[in-house]
């Protein structure tokens, strides 16, 4: 199906459609699950371990990244809160992060391929990827060419993902590739489903909602459709691929609701940082505050978690 544009198009357009009203309703119903006490404690710790602690600002400095790395390893000094999954930075700061995280379990993810717009020549994008990998990144978050996707040039998008995967993991580096669909620019859920399959077929280890630079970013119905894609891809191939939600997730309540969705839509195998991530920055502190609340019974406020 991936041998030419026409076959790929036939396959993607032959996927069952997504009824938006129904998808919205399903996501809303899942959000009514009431997660309390022991279930909440488990969910909060699981969510912490799934965070890709992210800083993607033009104003980022090595100092800021080092501080973020310290937080990633020990989010809440003096408690048994687990470390996060990874830190996520621009390619030029990968080396700083790698040095700061040496000896820890925390991975280093780097956005690449002319993030966030993806508007550069393929050679430039691949160079960006090789730089990040050479500096020690263990995970690459690439963006797809949304323009090409929306123009129906599916094979071009497919081949770019394949080339990026090759550039990132070519030498058996074990680097994980996350493919950012930027669903806020794809708009329809049918497009989200097609782009998800396209990225999975091209070898993406994760499909990721957003760059965080476009609104809307991660939304429950989009997460629903992407989790369904990961589930269906496993049914079709037996391979487990991950889903990462990024952008706009700031509260524990939202994070726990997404874990409910992972649990009931994809299944409990995905309740694992290897297969599900939150790309976030302020979410971590809210999770920690909720963690304190569960331990002590009282909210202690933002001055009792660290600001980085």
């Amino acid at each position: 199906m991936t041998r030419d544009d026409a076959s790929l198009r036939r396959f993607l357009h032959g996927l069952p459609g997504v009824d938006q009203v129904g998808a919205d309703a399903r996501a809303a119903t899942l959000a009514t699950r009431s997660i309390k006490t022991t279930a909440k404690a488990w969910a909060i710790d699981t969510a912490i371990s799934m965070v890709d602690l992210t800083t993607l600002e033009g104003a980022d400095t090595p100092g800021k990244v080092r501080s973020l790395c310290a937080k990633a390893v020990r989010p809440d000094p003096g408690s048994d809160a687990p470390p996060v999954a990874a830190v996520c930075v621009y390619p030029d700061l990968v080396e700083t992060a790698v040095t700061a995280l040496r000896g820890s379990s925390v991975g280093v993810a780097s956005v690449a391929t002319a993030f966030p717009s993806g508007r550069a020549a393929l050679a430039t994008k691949l160079h960006d990827v090789r730089d990040a990998v050479a500096a020690g990144a263990t995970e690459i978050d690439m963006v797809i060419d949304r323009g090409a996707f929306l123009a129906g040039k599916y094979l071009q998008v497919f081949e770019e993902i394949v080339a990026t995967k090759e550039a990132a993991c070519g030498a058996g580096s074990g680097v994980h590739l996350k493919v950012i669909l930027e669903t806020g620019e794809l708009v329809t859920l049918d497009n989200v489903r097609r782009a998800s399959w396209l990225a999975l077929l091209a070898g993406g280890d994760f499909i990721k909602t957003s760059t965080g630079k476009v609104n809307p970013a991660a939304r429950p119905p989009v997460a629903l459709v992407m989790l369904e894609a990961a589930r269906d891809y496993r049914d079709a191939t037996g391979e487990l691929r991950g889903v990462k939600l990024a952008g706009g997730i700031r509260t524990s309540k939202e994070a726990v609701r997404y874990l409910v969705m992972v649990n009931e839509v994809a299944g409990d195998e995905w309740l694992d940082p290897k297969l599900f991530r939150f790309g976030a920055s302020s979410l971590l502190n809210d999770l920690l505050q909720q963690r304190h609340k569960l331990a002590t019974g009282a909210y202690d406020g933002p001055d009792y978690v660290t600001v980085d």
């Binding site: 069952p16 009824d19 009203v21 998808a23 969910a43």
Partner: protein
């Protein structure tokens, strides 16, 4: 490590403000009925909830007299003023929404998620909607000054006790009628709390009377209509009882509207949005434990996607949470009564005996109470009882078809005609199917959605008359 166990999240039973005993509501006053005092029980654990002093024959006569007496002043009250009372009742329901939701779940066995998110808000919405019509009846298309029918006897079922009371009372009052309402014997509590809300709204005495009681009281109300003491019967319930009522009222001047049983076909084409179709099938047959007259109890799926769809459905059923109705995470609650449970069991056993394949997800049922595990029958043919008879329980019969014509033929091949569902991404097919299906309600790419603005009612043995929307006014106007 990766097992996400949801801790129990029960709604507090205290919110229901259960009283040891409840009284009937006649002529603006609460009083003990002259019938026997019965105990209403919680179907989830068979424990008694409260005692209800049932109405006797003399209470029916009192209630009818009160409704007649109240009719003159109520029917001539300006619509704008009647509307104010309805708005007040609607707000009263909203103010006591949590209480009503917990009480409904206790008395009926339905999950709190449904009573909280569907039954109670939709009941309030019905009063709000018909409150708006009260002063606009002249513009509803029934002439410049349509007259009310008179005093109406209203007999409602146990599956949506509060919501059905709202469906009946709201349009009747908006049009200027007075009512004698009889909730079902097993679920009288929320209708009696609604009577409290109505009393607090200062509705004139006799405009609404609520009589708890069993079939004998229903019969007595119908008898009042047969002798001309009341002008209309509105009944929602089984087709068998509907036929008895229609027979009794034949040749009398009493009007009648019936909303009876159903055996709805939920038709899934191969180009359907399959994930949403699975949700629609689940909502169609497991909503309210399948105890819904318009439940999508027959799944008609195009053969080319049947295996895939049934596999997805089975996986989805594995995530349904069956148990304590008051737990906020419960999806499927208890069957309303021992009698209903026996009927569901009988038909499910007949399905096995006739050669259909029975499947249920693994699930632990509570030891006490009336429980039936969500069940799917495959290899079902039209000749099987489970494809023909209304089960009124969480039991789905799966049939297949090859062409749209075959789907129509099978879907319409039932004495019922209440509702149907069509799942396809093709708009033209939705329209052509909807025009050929003999069903009062056809849902497209959804199922079991209720809105006060939309008319609801049946064809054939599913009854006649419409409830909801502008059409719902007609049943309570002299047109």
């Amino acid at each position: 490590m990766n097992r996400f166990e949801y801790a129990p999240a029960p709604e507090s039973r205290d919110i229901a403000r259960l009283k040891p005993s409840y009284q009937i509501f006649v002529d603006g006053r609460f009083r003990d009925g002259t019938g026997e005092a019965i105990k209403t029980i919680n179907p989830a654990d068979e424990s008694p909830l409260a005692e209800v002093a049932e109405a006797g024959p003399s209470d029916v006569e009192d209630a009818v007299r009160a409704a007649r007496r109240a009719f003159g002043a109520w029917s001539t009250l300006p619509g704008r003023e009647r509307g104010k009372y309805l708005f007040r009742i609607a707000r009263g329901i909203q103010e006591r929404a949590r209480e009503l939701a917990v009480l409904e779940s206790l008395d009926n066995g339905k999950p709190i998620r449904e009573s909280r998110d569907v039954d109670v808000p939709t009941a309030a919405a019905h009063f709000f909607y018909y409150a708006g019509w009260a002063d606009k009846l002249g513009y509803a298309g029934f002439g410049p000054n349509p007259r009310p029918v008179g005093a109406a006897g209203q007999i409602i079922p146990w599956n949506f006790p509060l919501l059905m009371a709202a469906w009946k009372i709201a349009p009747a009052l908006a049009c200027g009628n007075t009512v004698v309402l009889k909730p079902a014997e097993t679920t009288p509590l929320t209708a009696l709390v609604l009577a409290e809300i109505i009393a607090e709204a200062d509705l004139p005495p006799g405009v609404v009377n609520v009589l708890a009681g069993g079939p004998a009281i229903g019969e007595a109300i119908v008898e009042q209509a047969a002798t001309g003491a009341i002008d209309k019967i509105a009944f929602t319930g089984s087709t068998d009882v509907g036929k008895i009522i229609q027979r009794r009222l034949a040749g009398t001047s009493a009007r009648l509207s019936l909303e009876l049983g159903g055996k709805a076909a939920n038709i899934v084409f191969d180009d359907a949005p399959l994930d949403q179709a699975v949700e629609g099938i689940v909502n169609g047959i497991f909503f309210n434990q399948g105890q819904v007259c318009c439940a999508g109890s027959r799944l008609l799926v195009q053969e080319s996607v049947a295996d895939e769809l049934v596999a997805s459905l089975q996986r989805r059923l594995g995530t349904l949470r069956v148990g304590d109705p008051l737990d906020k995470n419960t999806d499927v609650g208890a069957i309303n009564s021992a009698a209903q449970l026996a009927k569901i069991r009988e038909l499910a056993d007949a399905g096995v005996a006739e050669g259909a394949t029975r499947w249920s997800p693994p699930c632990d049922l509570p030891e006490r109470g009336y429980w039936f595990v969500p069940t799917v029958f495959t290899d079902v043919s039209q000749a099987h009882r489970i494809a023909q008879e209304e089960i009124f329980g969480p039991v789905l019969s799966v049939l297949t078809f090859r062409t749209p014509d075959e789907a129509i033929a099978k879907a319409n091949n039932t004495p019922y005609g209440l509702s149907a569902g069509v799942w396809t991404e093709k708009g033209s097919r939705i329209l052509s199917m909807a025009s050929r299906l003999r069903a009062g309600v056809v849902w497209a790419n959804t199922f079991n959605r209720f809105d006060p603005t939309s008319p609801f009612g049946g064809y054939k043995e599913s009854g006649f008359g419409r409830e909801g929307g502008r059409h719902g006014l007609e049943a309570y106007l002299d047109v």
